[in-house]
Amino acid sequence: MARAISPRRKAFFTLIGWTIGLAIFFPILWTFLTSFKTEGEAIASPPSLLFFDWTTENYSEVQSRSDYFKHAMNSVVISFGSTILGLLIAIPSAWAMAFSPTKRTKDILMWMLSTKMLPPVGVLVPIYLIFRDWNLLDTRLGLTIVMTLINLPIIVWMLYTYFKEIPGDILEAARMDGASLAKEIVYVLAPMAVPGIASTMLLNIILAWNEAFWTLNLSAAKAAPLTAFIASYSSPEGLFWAKLSAASTLAIAPILVLGWFSQRQLVRGLTFGAVK
């Protein structure tokens, strides 16, 4: 039986929940509002929250100055491509490490994570030279490969922890009932692993979508994703907040919508199954 929660306690937690939620959402809301202001109103102090002359002129200016859809398409290809490629490598390796660990498994995991400890700019020039020699500069293929490699340690770690939580006893029970290895994977392991894989996938898409260092430095005109689109609206001399906000809103919209739609499935997936 569920523990009884007093209405006052419930109201208290609801209030805390909403406060934290709004605090986290506020920067996005503010960006959204600013994108409808004029440049003058965007920097006005004190700023106005809702009562200003709403204008869509920033959006038309951004649209006329740069090709949003080209950048968005590049972002989609790079983030989804790198996620698929990453999962293809990470699932078997995490699987192997979770279900048949060796003495060195922990060390290998640690070594993989250690590649994330170097500041990326430290390897910019070597990678740039490799890309130049292989003609990968400013190509979507090149950026997809780099994104895959950068996020691989995180995907492997996440999947490893998910797989680790699947109890060996269930597999054993399936084997006792005469399931072959193929059946064991398809009917027993896969359903339990899907929520983990799905949330890893989503996280990786978001990470690749937002990555700004490599995508900015290794692209020029053809393969530039939305990060480059945003970067082109900042300026050290001149007002740019409203236009930058419009560009940012356009750039985060697709990923926000994706998150929104997959949220229900994700939470359901994470709380569903034999062991959760």
């Binding site: 102090s45 698929i84 740039y128 130049r132 430095n217 005109a221 970067a231 001399e237 007002l239």
Partner: protein
């Protein structure tokens, strides 16, 4: 098999083919004049049917990092780069840039302003063509100046500026006499302070590359700046850069602002500025030592040595920085929007003089700055508000942090100067300039 085809599919997803024409990739900064050039570029492609243009617009610091990586590794991603007066002498010496020798017979190189041309040439060869030039000047509120009972001379001294700033300050009503850059960075507070120090007779290095922060001229400069800002500057000035000061000035909170000449068009624009009709301009201040505290910068177009399309690139540069482009902008958007500060003929044009009231001030400011002789005493470097050596970005920013800390009151002026001297000596020794 399935895995293989999936893998292939994922790889193919990323590898989309593109048809290759003669396409010039142009890297540029996100400034008004540059964006205008992008819009007007149809004129070039109409006249040169075989050439397509592709633009990479970036914020200045992102652009600098990208193009520096590309040019240092001879990546060849760009055919034309927009670079400043800081990069040109350094990159030209490294043979990273192609000298511009075929700009065409009607280009008239001698028409370029001598100060700007000098900053972009090595041994008499032009390595980048100036697209627009800028300097710095005093922008002030005529109404507040009158209220304080003062009249701004065309060429004020630092003493006058300090006196006026103190008299204009009304902290209760959030009006501050003077807004100056305080945010740390070689292109932020150090651009202003280095230019200011020239008028105080200070210099970064003596003829033997010895750092000069232990000399009295620097103490005068920094002491004057910190005292003035404490008494008459806005709160939190140590985090203010160009845009923060622009916002303050436009909302009527600054009496005076000394910054880039490009700001003139922003503060006089009634759509953005609450004080558009009350702004006056004057030359950057001096200390009667023969040098003014203004800087010199020119965004210029150059061709990296790694480019495969140098001939077409030079054609484009001749179009964008030639006299014809000025006429094109004038015919489409009016004389006030013509990129300033590059050609003598523009300043002799009566129509331009009429349309841009600050034209004479800009020309005087630019002519007053000599990148080869920036300060009162001789120096071994080129550059007015910077020192054109590769190490300067790092050193300039580190010194800028010290000076910003002094403005914030975290260290004393003497301590900031001692730290600056120490760190500059260390870096210059490491760089092999001094033993």
């Amino acid at each position: 098999m399935k895995l293989k085809s999936l893998l292939l599919g994922a790889v193919c997803l990323g590898a989309a083919g593109y048809a290759q024409a003669e396409t010039l990739t142009i890297a540029t900064v996100n400034n008004g004049d540059m964006i205008r050039m992008q819009k007007l570029a149809d004129d070039f492609t109409a006249k040169n049917p075989g050439i397509d243009l592709e633009w990479v617009t970036m914020e200045e610091n992102v652009l600098r990092q990208k193009v520096t990586t590309d040019i240092a590794t001879k990546g060849g991603q760009y055919d034309i780069m927009t670079i400043g007066t800081y990069e040109v002498p350094i990159w030209a010496k490294q043979n990273w840039l192609v000298p511009l020798e075929n700009l065409g017979s009607d280009y008239d190189v001698d028409d370029l302003l001598p100060a700007i041309r000098g900053g972009l040439s090595i041994d008499g060869k032009l390595y980048a063509a100036p697209f627009y030039g800028e300097s710095s000047m005093v922008m002030y509120r005529k109404d507040l100046m009158a209220k304080a009972g003062l009249e701004m001379p065309d060429a004020p001294s630092w003493d006058f500026i300090a006196d006026a700033a103190r008299k204009m300050t009304d902290k209760e009503n959030e009006v501050y006499g003077i807004c100056l850059r305080g945010k740390a960075g070689w292109g932020e507070n150090m651009a202003f302070l280095t230019a200011m120090s020239n008028s105080f007779g200070a210099r970064w290095f003596d003829e033997n590359w010895q750092p000069q922060f232990d000399q009295p001229e620097w103490k005068d400069t920094l002491g004057f700046y910190v005292d003035l800002m404490k008494e008459a500057g806005p709160p939190g000035a140590s985090s203010n850069g160009f845009n923060e000061n622009l916002a303050l000035f436009q909302s009527g909170k600054c009496g005076m602002w000394i910054d880039a000449t490009v700001a003139a068009s922003f503060v006089t624009n009634p759509k953005e500025s609450q004080v558009a009709d009350k702004v006056g301009f004057a030359l950057a201040p001096d200390n009667s030592l023969g040098k003014r505290g203004n800087w010199l910068w020119a965004w210029s177009l150059a061709i990296p040595a790694g480019s495969q399309k140098q001939e077409a690139a030079e054609k484009f540069i001749a179009w964008a920085t030639g006299k014809g482009y000025l006429d094109l902008v004038a015919s489409k958007e009016g004389w006030a929007n013509v990129p300033p500060g590059t050609r003598t003929s523009l300043y002799e044009n009566p129509e331009y003089q009429k349309a841009a009231p600050f034209a004479a001030m800009t020309l005087q400011s630019i002519n007053a700055a000599d990148p080869t002789k920036p300060s009162v005493k001789p120096v071994p470097y080129v550059g007015v508000q910077f020192v054109a050596i590769p190490e300067f970005q790092g050193i300039g920013t580190a010194v800028g942090q010290q000076f910003s800390a002094a403005l914030a009151g975290q260290v004393s002026v003497d301590q900031a100067l001692a730290n600056a001297q120490q760190l500059t000596t260390r870096e210059m020794t490491k760089g092999g300039y001094i033993k």
